[in-house]
Every structure is written in C-alpha cells, then in structure tokens.
C-alpha cells in the first residue's frame, strides 16, 4: 500500500453492530455465535482439566469435583450449557446456509427465532438436569 492511498479517507461500510444499523435478529444471532464460540473454547480447557484429573488419580479428581460442584463451578457449567446449545443449533443453521439452504430472508428469520426458542427450552432443561445430577 502506498502512502498516498493510505492517507486518503476511503469510504467503509459500517460494522453491523453500532450506531448505523438497528439491531437485527440476523446480526445478533451471528455475533452471539462468535461470543459463544469464544466461551466454549475456554470451556474446552475445563474438559481437558477433567481428563487430566481422572488420569492423575482420586485426590486430583476430588479437587476437580469440589470445584465443579461449587457455586462457581455450577454457574460456569450453566453458562457452558447455554453456550453449547446455542452454538450447536446456530451452527447447524450456518451449515445449512453453507449449502445454500434457508438463505431467504423469511426463512433466515424463522430459523433464527427457532434457534432462540429452542436454546431457551433446552438450556433450562439441561441446567435442571445438571442440578439434579449433582444434588446428593
């Protein structure tokens, strides 16, 4: 890039989130896909911690179990359940788009609302199952 080109103010299309666009279901489901993806990347490290704890023996496992069943651990678990349910459902939506299915505006909105609704229902159900599972 030459100096001349970099000094000139080129018009840019505005970012989808910000003052230029009103929030839309399509842009919001997209950014949430990325946010939940980042959260799940961190959550994946907890899964590695679980594997290492099992490999290390009963004492290490007890430490992991205590942390996981603490108030903090259960809150993180609930957050990860939400993230994986949303990212899974919306990921299937993206894969459908990648093969050209459901790209029409009406269908994109319908699948978006389906993802939102199904995420809410499944998250509540799975968090309830988690709390029931760890309860003595």
């Amino acid at each position: 890039m030459t100096n001349l080109a970099s000094k000139r103010e080129r018009p840019l299309s505005p970012f989808m989130i910000g003052p230029h666009y009103r929030p839309q279901l399509t842009s919001m489901t997209s950014i949430f896909h990325r946010i939940t993806g980042v959260l799940l990347s961190l959550g994946a490290l907890a899964m590695v911690g679980w594997l290492l704890a099992v490999a290390a023996g009963p004492d290490a496992y007890q430490h992991f179990a205590n942390l996981a069943s603490s108030w903090f651990g259960l809150a993180v678990g609930a957050g990860l359940i939400f993230a994986i349910v949303y990212h899974w459902l919306n990921g299937v939506r993206h894969l459908a788009w990648d093969v050209g299915v459901g790209l029409e505006l009406g269908r994109a909105y319908a699948s978006g609302w389906f993802v939102v609704g199904a995420t809410a229902v499944l998250t509540v159900a799975l968090v309830w199952l988690m709390l029931r599972g760890v309860a003595p």
């Binding site: 993806g37 994946a44 490290l45 594997l51 099992v54 179990a65 990921g91 199952l129 988690m130 599972g133």
Partner: protein
C-alpha cells in the same frame, strides 16, 4: 463476457485472491460436521457421569470405544476452536503485533491441550 477474461486455471483452483482462505473456511466446516454428533455423545456421557465420582469416570474413559470418541472429540474441538479464534482475532484485533501474538498463543494452547488430553487418555487406558 467477463468470464472469458478470467484464466480457467484460476476458476478451477477456486482459491480467490488471497490463495489460502478457502482451506481455512472448509476445515472450519468439516470440523463442525465432526463435532455435531461428537458433542451430543459427550453431553449425554457427561450427564450420565454426573455425581458418579472418580471410579465411574475412570471406568468410562478406560473403555476403548469411549477413549477413541473422546480423542476424536478433543482433536476436532481444538482444531475448530483454533480456526474460530483465529477468525475472531483477525476480524476484531486491529493492532497487528497483538493479533500476531494472540494467534500464536491460541495455537500453542490448542496444541498443548490436545497433547495433554491424549496423554491423559492413554494413561487412563493403560491403567498407569
């Protein structure tokens, strides 16, 4: 008319101007397809192990079927996470040095996480 001006080889390769983005895009989708069933299997397994304690978790992971699927999950998951975090960094981190550093950190953490997981699975399987 414009098509006639385009080199057929360029169309056949289908790589676009940057030459390498397509493989990144496709690897993201292929790992996603692998993760769709693997993540369901993991969730069902994790919920069945809830409240089960050390012995139950160890027996579960020592079974070859579970160990193989767990290894597949870990590899696909960190491959997918690595590709996704790279995209997020490239899109939102505009300081080139910071973006470069973050991408290296993400890569190293992802590779270490896979190695550590496979080591743990082997150790559990061999009963060491």
């Amino acid at each position: 008319m414009t098509h006639a001006l385009r080199d057929p080889l360029k169309r056949a390769r289908g790589l676009g101007a940057a030459k390498e983005g397509t493989s990144h895009f496709i690897a993201q989708r292929v790992s996603a397809i692998a993760l769709a069933p693997l993540s369901i299997w993991f969730m069902v397994s994790a919920f069945s192990l809830l409240g089960g304690g050390y012995a139950e978790a160890r027996v579960f992971l020592a079974q070859p079927f579970n160990a193989v699927l767990m290894a597949a999950l870990v590899i696909a998951l960190f491959h997918h996470a690595h590709l996704g975090l790279e995209t997020v960094i490239e899109d939102y981190v505009h300081l080139r040095g910071l973006a470069f550093t973050l991408k290296i950190v993400v890569k190293f953490v992802a590779v270490l996480a896979v190695i550590a997981s496979l080591f743990a699975l082997v150790r559990i399987a061999l009963g060491a």
